[in-house]
């Protein structure tokens, strides 16, 4: 039986980041992957966010054929089914106030997981990790009650004092270790996607750098478009739907809902303009937790990425989280190996550091954001807010349909009419902002309170915002 310092299960972004960090530090690492090449089993429309450029210097070297920079996001608000026509849209480049240069330059870079996962696994291998493909882990070795290696289907065993479980949403290591039998239906999303091939020139002319577009609206749960060099993914359903909410909604199939959205007129026009042809159909589960999971380590084992349930609570972005947690797990493994203590008590520092890290901070206010999107998904409120946005923008800035003064006069009462809906939204955002930024924002809040009082509202100052 071969012995390693560290066995990593799964050569996705989390596993390869763990293996890379450990191998660079001189550890003897085995990286196991069940598929024929890293990236073969992943789906759903991948774009890497600027956080990866901020936190991983080697990401600056990324140069993959499928890459397309996303410097412009578009949110399309559609009218309700069955019409699903454009009603209102919001689009923007990144904020100039972001805290690091890449974040002011772009949002994400779309690229294929087949390319990215292989690139990252190759880095780990070049650093000295042993990569074994087509290797399915079906058991864990145990020594004195702790995880001490893995067993492959077929019986081959590998010993290691510590194992990193980077084996995705349906993690076998989580189950075999007893950390988690399976997710509840309200803790995951079923994401489907259609990959379309499109000529590169069409992509450059029609999409350019508008690499992320989302489709919302009354009865439309947030489907999305992610752009690559030579095609697009249309994926969904999005942020208003966990598996359980979908099942409760009288069994509307996620696959059917996505196909219906693709059939919506604006999407069909876009696909025609792109001369796009469907190339692949994909489906995958994503963990979607509103609080950061805490049962992510035990004696001799740490879970990272999707296996740990780390995708952030609003859009279920998970690749940067996987990379960050993978590297952290490798660092903790090294420390604990040097100290000679791989017990659960010793590995507990993994959770502590993750909670304090940017990955953990993404979960602050997660439950509130989830509630906000559930509220915005309500067909009545969704329609009211959309029409409010139309009245305010069109009447104030764009309309030539009536005398200018009348257009402006039409816009103002709309704000007052919609105050209750706006307060509902503010009540969710403000406590969350206070939790993160606290003192710095209390001054701004005082101004808002004054404004609300002047408008005769006052709801801003009530409830949790005071806490």
């Amino acid at each position: 039986m071969r012995k390693f310092d560290l066995v990593v299960v799964g050569a996705g972004p989390g596993g390869s980041s763990a293996a890379l960090a450990a191998a660079e530090a001189g550890m003897d690492v085995l990286l196991l992957e069940r598929s024929r090449f890293p990236g073969e089993k992943n789906a759903s429309g991948f774009a890497l966010s600027t956080k990866a450029w901020r936190d991983f210097p080697f990401i600056a070297d990324l140069d993959l054929p499928s890459m397309r920079y996303n410097r412009f996001c578009v949110a399309h608000i559609l009218s309700p089914p069955p019409e699903m026509e454009e009603r209102f849209s919001i689009s923007s480049g990144p904020s100039r106030r972001m805290g690091y240069p890449e974040a002011r330059d772009f949002f994400t870079v779309g690229m294929l997981r087949r390319e990215f996962d292989q690139w990252l696994a190759d880095k780990a291998r070049t650093a000295g990790a042993t990569l074994m493909l087509e290797s399915l882990v079906t058991g864990l070795r145990r020594e004195s009650g702790r995880v001490a290696g893995v067993v492959l289907e077929g019986g081959e065993e590998f010993a290691a004092p510590v194992v990193v479980g980077a084996d995705g949403v349906l993690s076998a290591t989580a189950r075999l270790s007893g950390l988690r039998e399976k997710w509840r239906p309200d803790q995951v999303i079923s994401a489907c996607a259609v990959d379309f091939e499109a000529p590169r020139e069409r992509m450059d002319d029609v999409i350019h750098e508008a690499g992320f577009q989302a489709y919302f609206g009354p009865g439309i749960g947030g489907n999305y478009l992610v752009a690559y060099a030579d095609g697009v993914h249309l994926g969904g359903p999005g942020v208003t739907n966990s598996l359980v909410s979908r099942l409760n909604r009288s069994h509307v199939k996620p696959a059917r809902e996505l196909l219906d959205t693709i059939a919506a007129p604006p999407t069909r026009r876009l696909l025609r303009a792109l001369e796009a042809r469907p190339r692949e159909w994909q489906a995958h589960l994503l963990p979607w937790m509103d609080r950061m999971p805490t049962n992510i380590y035990t004696g001799g084992l740490m879970l990272v990425g999707d296996a740990a349930g780390l995708p952030e609570p609003l859009y279920a972005e998970g690749v940067w989280q996987a990379m960050y947690s993978g590297r952290l797990a490798a660092q903790v493994a090294m420390e604990c190996l040097e100290e000679g203590d791989l017990s659960a008590a010793s590995l507990a520092r993994y959770l502590e550091r993750l909670e304090e890290s940017p990955v953990g901070k993404e979960f602050v206010g997660g439950a509130e954001l989830r509630r906000l999107f559930e509220i915005l998904g309500d067909p009545r409120l969704s329609r009211e807010l959309t029409e409010m946005a139309v009245d305010l923008t069109v009447n104030l800035f764009m309309s030539a349909q009536e005398p200018k003064a009348e257009c402006v006069a039409r816009a103002l009462p709309v704000l007052a009419e919609n105050l209750p809906a706006l307060m509902e939204v503010a009540r969710i955002y403000l406590p969350m902002i206070l939790q993160v930024e606290g003192e710095r924002l209390r001054g701004h809040l005082a101004v808002l309170k004054g404004l609300a009082a002047a408008l005769g509202g006052g709801a801003v100052g009530s409830g949790d915002a005071e806490a």
Binding site: R34, L112, T138, L243, L247, P254, T267, P278, W281
Partner: protein, 106 residues
């Protein structure tokens, strides 16, 4: 009174989702063994698996869920049936290494 909304240009027919053949758009190396297991005794007939499967591989028969015989040739290993089953009647493991669904453009 506007009776019918005028729409400019080519109308919205054609293209889009209706002509997407999910089965033709997936590549699967069929697993040599089973990897989804159904305990018919525990099935309550809730239909969650039928509702959630992205490949329509489940049917209701006699009030109980039934997995398509050839599922190994089409299953995308998403595990939705396993998570969605309210009775714990569906068990899911992965197919052997090197087999199962293969995404080239994910």
């Amino acid at each position: 009174m506007v009776s019918e909304k005028p729409r400019s240009g080519k109308d919205a027919r054609g293209g889009g989702g209706s002509d997407i053949d999910r089965f033709a758009l997936t590549e699967v190396v069929p697993s040599p063994r089973d990897f989804i297991f159904v305990d018919a005794e525990r099935c309550t007939g809730c239909g969650n698996c039928v509702a959630i499967c992205p490949m329509d591989l489940w049917r209701m028969r006699g009030g109980r869920a039934e997995l398509a015989e050839g599922y190994r040739e089409n299953c995308m290993e998403c595990g939705s049936c396993y998570i969605a089953c309210e009775a714990g009647a569906v068990d899911f493991t992965y197919p052997p290494g090197g087999t199962g669904v293969s995404y080239r453009y994910a």
